[in-house]
């Protein structure tokens, strides 16, 4: 049995380069080591699968670790020389976390040699250096149940926050649902992220320009909390414990009519698993709300992309880059079209991508790339629950956030 397994493995491994060669894939120098650390969701698997299929045969080793804990271990894993992984697949916020410690290398040379198939908008440039290659986008946006909106007599699809609140009120008044709105407001990262989205819609800045001094205790901050309080009035009573899994479940169970959720959940809701047919048929994905018509949508745009470690031999870096770049093909996108909002040529945006596309076209901002943003996000996550529960004023909540942030940022060395 064992021999049989080995034979199969050898056949597969032996087959790969032949296949790769047949397709003219350039895997860079042979006999190198490729070790990838990534988060764990289908779109990333699709990319890494193809990279492995193309280039595992040419490499001495091809290892991959898909874990939801990637963000927690990546800095420690990339610090030694040689680093534990040759590439980490990151997002906006996690790239900053690696760059703060200088753990990823500029990719300009590698893009010039192996990046012929990469589109210019995939290249993440910081200070003129390409630091990551993005392949998919994500953002929060609104989900609507068109049948319920119609039943409640809501004219058209809500666009502004006021429209959303009015629609929620109409649904409640019509006696259809007491709590028609679902949002990811779990205390911690999620509630902080909702603040970020609404704050960007109100045109706020998080820091004084060029410094790490906080700047959220202002009119935009107060307006943001006012909007959040108006929304929460119609949110499920357990909203402070809700993250993506809970809101998606409520949506699929037909217990919500208005949702502010991640675009990446759109595909899962619209597929024929989990949700009732009338939910699937009547779910519409649309742009994140704006404050006033024509304003900035209240969302943070995210990208996922790959980086190459700084502390590895150049040969490994070339082979890793070539393998991952070789996976960015229209064929891969077509085979996994609904798994993500791809930034790669060949993507055909379906209904599941409509929300992210509309939000990005509306001019939503990307998640702030400040090195100290994680600390601000954490302070928001910890200090806003009191306000939403009506235990303190908006002014007090914002003052608390700034005080908590200042303490943490001083300890982290961002403020003196």
């Amino acid at each position: 049995m064992k021999t049989f397994g080995l034979t199969i493995a050898a056949a597969l491994l032996g087959g790969a380069p032949a296949f790769a060669a047949g397709h003219g894939v350039d895997c860079g120098p042979e006999g190198q080591s490729i070790r990838i650390l990534a988060s764990d969701f289908p779109a990333i698997h699709a990319v890494v699968n193809l990279a492995e299929e193309n280039c595992a045969g040419a490499a001495a080793e091809f290892e991959r670790n898909h874990t939801t804990e990637a963000r927690e271990i990546m800095n420690a894993a990339l610090t030694p020389d040689p680093a534990e992984y040759t590439s980490v697949i990151v997002a906006n916020s996690t790239l900053v976390q690696l760059m703060n410690d200088g753990l990823v290398r500029p990719l300009d040379d590698l893009v010039a040699t192996y990046g012929a198939n990469l589109a210019p908008n995939q290249l993440i440039t910081i200070d003129g250096n390409i630091m990551a290659v993005a392949f998919m986008a994500n953002s929060q946006h609104m989900f609507y149940r068109t049948d319920i909106l119609e039943q409640a007599g809501v004219p058209g699809i809500p666009e502004t926050y006021d429209d959303v609140v009015a629609a929620a009120k109409a649904i409640r008044d019509a006696g259809i649902m007491e709590h028609p709105l679902v949002m990811n407001l779990e205390t911690g990262w999620n509630i902080g992220e909702v603040f970020n989205t609404v704050y960007l819609a109100h045109g706020g800045d998080f820091f004084e320009p060029g410094t790490a001094r906080p700047a959220i205790n202002n009119a935009a901050g107060l307006a943001t909390l006012e909007t959040m309080a108006a929304l929460v009035e119609y949110a499920h009573p357990d909203h402070l414990t809700h993250a993506s899994n809970e809101t998606q479940a409520l949506w699929e169970a037909g217990q919500a009519a208005l949702g502010f959720m991640w675009g990446s959940r759109g595909g899962a809701i619209l597929d024929d698993e989990g949700a009732a047919p009338e939910v699937i048929k009547n779910t519409l994905l649309s742009s994140a709300p704006v404050v006033q018509a024509g304003g900035t949508p209240g969302a943070t745009l995210w990208w996922d992309g790959f980086t190459i470690s700084a502390n590895i031999p150049d040969g490994d870096a070339q082979a890793t880059f070539a393998a991952l770049a070789s996976a960015m093909t229209p064929e891969m996108v077509q085979a996994n079209n609904d798994a993500a909002v791809w930034l790669i040529d060949g993507f055909d945006p379906g209904p599941a991508a409509a929300g992210v596309a509309a939000t990005a076209q509306g001019g939503a901002k990307s998640y702030p790339m400040f090195p100290q943003m994680g600390l601000m996000h954490n302070a928001l996550g910890a200090e806003l629950a009191d306000f939403l529960q009506g235990r303190e004023s908006a002014e007090q909540a914002l003052a608390d956030v700034e005080a908590a942030y200042t303490t943490a940022a001083t300890e982290a060395g961002f403020l003196q």
Binding site: E178, T187, G188, A212, D238, A385, D386, A408
Partner: protein, 343 residues
């Protein structure tokens, strides 16, 4: 035993204790007195699929120079301990000076994260510990009265809550108290209030966490007391029975005094265990209503992308001090018993 022999005898234990207990604590204390070196920020432009933006980044070379100068970071003295995230001395003083009623002062204190976590930690410890002690003893006595045939299975069943991993056990209860879960839905039906939520109110969340704590630790005190009950001497019990002592009098005057050393042991373990309550808070997503000292340490090290080693160290040291305070009465009592026996 001659001192020399004694020293050789304890040497392995002593070495292990220094390596695995004393040195880590010293390291934590040193870390808690330092903060990170300055992060030199430079303005920069970042471009991606969504356009270009002005932002800042850390100037690695300048920061590396500072790091090389002082590898431990900047010495911060007691400032981390006294700052807003911990003892918040300045905030306390200000609250005392500017509030009119004591209630208002308390609510200002409760707004500070360390004191908020401390309140829940103390209430949790103060409620769970006595409940577990008394109920554990009651169950042990109950099981001890059972006929032999059913005793084994009852012990096994009573131990089950302790076998469930805390993270999983509390997650199961969390799902049960959900509005769609069996407990949550039943309560809504009983009180005829479809929006009743155990997760939305601070009081009910505390209640649920404490209930979970009692359920989970009960088997520990039960099994220790049950073992102790097997050693209760039968002679005094028989004598008491002949003298006409009721079951309650036998329990109060013979069984409980006999179990006293075990009570001290179980109390000690429970106090230490409950003071570091953590898992149910994470499983319950209860951070809006209840946090604990251990949860603060976890959050400081994990959530922000920049681990705050100084803060986590300071909270750890304060937790150790808290445990010592809590254990003081039990330790003093044990010491007195020990000396009393020697004299």
């Amino acid at each position: 035993m001659p001192t020399r022999t004694f020293l050789w005898f304890v040497l392995p234990t002593l070495t292990a204790m220094i390596l695995f207990i004393a040195l880590p604590i010293v390291s934590v204390i040193i870390q808690s007195l330092h903060i990170e070196h300055e992060q030199v920020l430079v303005t920069t432009e970042s471009c991606g699929p969504f356009g270009c933006e002005e932002t800042t980044r850390v100037d690695l070379e300048a920061t590396e120079v500072l790091r090389a100068e002082r590898p431990l970071g900047q010495f911060n003295g007691m400032n981390t301990y006294l700052g807003r995230s911990h003892l918040a001395v300045q905030e306390l003083r200000e609250a005392w000076a500017t509030t009119e009623t004591f209630g208002e002062f308390l609510s200002r204190i409760y707004n500070l994260k360390f004191y908020r976590a401390l309140s829940f930690t103390l209430v949790y410890t103060a409620v769970v510990t006595p409940f577990v002690l008394v109920l554990g003893l009651a169950i042990a006595i109950g099981v001890n009265q059972l006929p032999r045939v059913v005793r084994g299975p009852s012990i096994f069943v009573s131990l089950l809550p302790f076998l469930v991993t805390p993270l999983v056990g509390s997650l199961i209860l969390f799902w049960m108290v959900d509005g769609d879960g069996i407990i949550g839905a039943t309560l809504q039906w009983l009180f005829d209030d479809p929006s009743l939520s155990l997760k939305a109110s601070a009081g009910l969340t505390w209640g649920t966490l404490i209930f979970y704590g009692i359920w989970h630790t009960l088997p520990f005190s039960f099994i220790v007391f049950y073992a102790g009950l097997q050693t209760v001497p039968t002679d005094p019990l028989e004598a008491a029975r002949i003298d006409g002592a009721s079951a309650w009098q036998q329990l109060r005057h013979i069984i409980v005094p006999h179990l006293m050393p075990l009570v001290a042991f179980v109390t000690l373990m429970l106090l230490m265990d409950n003071f570091r309550v953590f898992e149910p808070i994470v499983s319950f997503s209860a951070e809006a209503h209840a946090t604990s000292l251990s949860w603060i340490i976890f959050n400081d090290l994990r959530e922000s992308g920049n681990p705050l080693h100084g803060s986590a160290g300071a909270t750890s040291v304060l937790t150790i001090i808290g445990v010592v305070f809590l254990l003081m009465p039990v330790l003093i009592r044990t010491w007195r018993d020990f000396k009393g026996r020697r004299v």
